[in-house]
Subunit: 429 residues, 2 copies
């Protein structure tokens, strides 16, 4: 049994759950406090408790340590708190999906829970209630690396239902790892949006002093309740000094840093706008919300993959799938020796789209002979799309085009802001 | 027969080569000029000639057009020009590999050739002779997407030979697509450098007015001939207004734009320095050149691949190779459902290293359960390495470590500046 497992079983044996008050008895001495969640940066043998003076301490627990349950946490945010309603404020929906941002701090105990109920989700950032009324829902509770097409579909339907029920906008708290993929997917799946759809995340959980959860959620609430955007957008920190948040188009944004709060950047375009001091300022034109009914168009072909090119890439490294997004080098190249395999896959019906490892800039396979050979083989230019967006779009296009020509036409047509006709000079790092 | 092929055969029939003077006769009218290379942006049916007044014109050629050879180009740069030698200047070696930068402009005809001889290579930017003496060599002539391990080995040996023969430094003009991979490979292969090894490229060929070839090469010559660097570096445009060039550490640099001249950026560190007005300014510490003999340590395991994670990634998408660099999401995650396959591959002897799609920041698999499961399965953290560098290093480490423990130790040890112990706060986009 691992040490962590041993501790978990020891806590379970006395029915001690996070938020409960326990006493840890070690070497004849006892320490009493509220059981806190195990923190990633603590050792496996550590149990963290919040003392009455408010400090958290970690205690190493071994076979000679006793744990006693002193009292159970008083449960029931749901019972003691009610989501407020102000008839003069717009109403939005929050649809929870999990991720760091959906971790809920119990303000009484300081403990961090995943928000598994709608009310907990809403109360995870009570500041929102200053801005708007909130309907809260939990669609699912996932770390974002496990979110896939089935979740995108569920979300798209949820969003449409909420907007068609009359809310002003929708917020989707989401793990940041794959938020760009989900925002792109919803951009293709949702048509005729009658309000903003705002994905938002946090790079640091709410139990850390540097957490970006509160600012991101209030900025998202501002966009969802006060803007006339009819697009799927991502709202995240614009800088690390908490000055402003940035509104990114859902098809043009990716995560560029593993830990910084300003990790999200718009690529090959400038961001739609920003939120500063509660005010929204726009940089560019955007699609306005409509008065009609939101439509869901969520047919997707799942047999699509991403293949990253590298020196020595071999023909067998390119799999037989209905769709493949190649992440080539430079303007859109791969080693010459894999081109016959690519041609063979295309001749057998695969759709292959070229994007670039450079991330910034545009594919141009007309410049060098390698690119021209790829065009001849039938590889489709991903233009200036992010490879993540091209991957999602290819799933969508394969399910919507009846034949190769139609799929190619869809891939080359700007559907949801994913292709900019001319790349602006001021959109690089 | 394609139109282009038709034109090529028509030119071949009259023995008209680039640089020769031809007459194109169409609709009874004739135009005379020097045959120019076919330009990527011209139509397939266009033949471009340089008129006597210096203007280039494109003429559409069809079956009713005649082409007549007027006179052959006078050959022999090699015969008419000699590389100058100034005993008061340091001597460097240029080792040509191909790519946009190695395209040679014949200043007499304006025609662009790949520099297939050492002298042509040297004369591709005669400005260099102001800075240093040049020994020129052509190692091979490749577009960089086709450069692989065998070429890296050839280059490493070439560099060592030249430095051990006493040149002050070495310049390697290289296609920009995979320059970062090659600079990383040479960084691991070369030990005890007695002078700077400078990779340099061009995003725009020398026949275009916006070409960056001249500035990049002169900056590279300055670094190669005047600095005391004992590392492999990349020198490229620092901005788009030709103000300065940047010196990047070979293991920390990647191409971030398909076409901009300032496409290369240092990741997770600040660049070593810059060259402005012919002067070198350093930002950080670097390894100084040694007085000893350069050693080549170029054993590489070629059975290594890069796998880019995406929503819906399946176990069968992760191939059985001796080494795999995963490009995961965020702090280093992949969909949970592929973890058993990863564990199985590792149990069967594969070495699997985690890097991030974020590119910036550091892997930390201790934070979330997905990462902890990956650590348990035996996945090695790529720390803050670029995935391109981790890929090259894994080839090198697999060939140098006797067992799993040694390979893991090598991957986690900073060998050539590829891992920074603490990421600086000022190194993001």
């Amino acid at each position: 049994m691992t040490r962590r497992r041993y501790i978990e079983e020891k806590l379970r044996a006395v029915d001690a759950k996070i938020g409960d008050t326990i006493r840890i008895i070690k070497d004849g001495k006892g320490m009493e406090g509220v059981l806190m969640p195990h923190h990633e940066f603590s050792g496996d043998d550590i149990v963290t408790i919040k003392l009455e003076n408010g400090y958290n301490i970690g205690v190493a627990v071994d076979r000679n340590t006793d744990i006693v349950l002193i009292k159970k946490q008083k449960m029931g945010i749901r019972k003691t708190k009610k989501i407020p309603f102000d008839p003069n404020k717009p109403t939005i929906s929050i649809i929870g999906t999990g991720g760091t941002i959906a971790c809920y701090v119990d303000y009484r105990t300081g403990a961090v829970h995943p928000a598994t109920s709608a009310e907990e989700l809403a109360f995870s950032v009570p500041e929102i209630f200053e801005i708007c009324n909130v309907r809260a829902h939990v669609a699912f509770q996932m770390f974002s690396e496990d979110i896939d097409v089935s979740h995108w579909k569920k979300l798209a339907r949820y969003v449409a239902k909420e907007l068609n029920n009359g809310v002003h906008g929708v917020i989707i708290p989401h793990g940041t790892d794959t938020m760009g993929y989900t925002s792109a997917a919803l951009s293709f799946m949702l048509r005729n949006l009658s309000g903003p759809v705002v994905l938002v995340g946090a790079q640091r959980s709410s139990d850390r002093p540097s957490s970006d959860a509160a600012q991101n959620l209030t900025a998202a609430a501002t966009v969802a309740s006060k803007s006339d955007i009819g697009e799927v957008v991502v709202v995240m920190h614009g800088d690390i000094s908490d000055t402003f948040s940035t509104i990114h188009r859902g098809t043009k944004v990716r995560k560029f840093h593993t830990s910084r709060r300003d990790a999200f950047k718009t690529v090959n375009d400038i961001p739609l706008g920003k939120i500063e001091d509660g005010k929204i300022m726009f940089n560019v034109e955007y699609r306005k919300k409509t008065d009609g009914k939101v439509l869901v168009d969520d047919k997707m072909e799942e047999d699509v993959g991403i293949v990253y090119s590298y020196p020595g890439l071999r023909p067998e490294d390119i799999p037989e799938k209905k769709g493949v997004v190649l992440v080539g080098t430079g303007l859109g190249h791969v080693p010459n020796r894999v081109i016959p395999k690519i041609k063979q896959l295309i001749d057998n019906g695969s759709i292959i789209v070229m994007t670039s490892q450079c991330i910034f800039g545009r594919i141009n396979m007309h410049v060098y002979s390698n690119g021209r050979d790829l065009i001849k083989a039938g590889v489709i230019s991903g233009e200036d799309m992010l490879h993540e967006t091209a991957f999602v779009k290819l799933m969508w296009a394969l399910a919507h085009g009846k034949n190769r020509e139609e799929i190619e036409r869809l891939m080359k047509t700007n559907i949801a802001g994913e292709i900019t006709e001319r790349t602006r000079a001021d959109t690089f790092i």
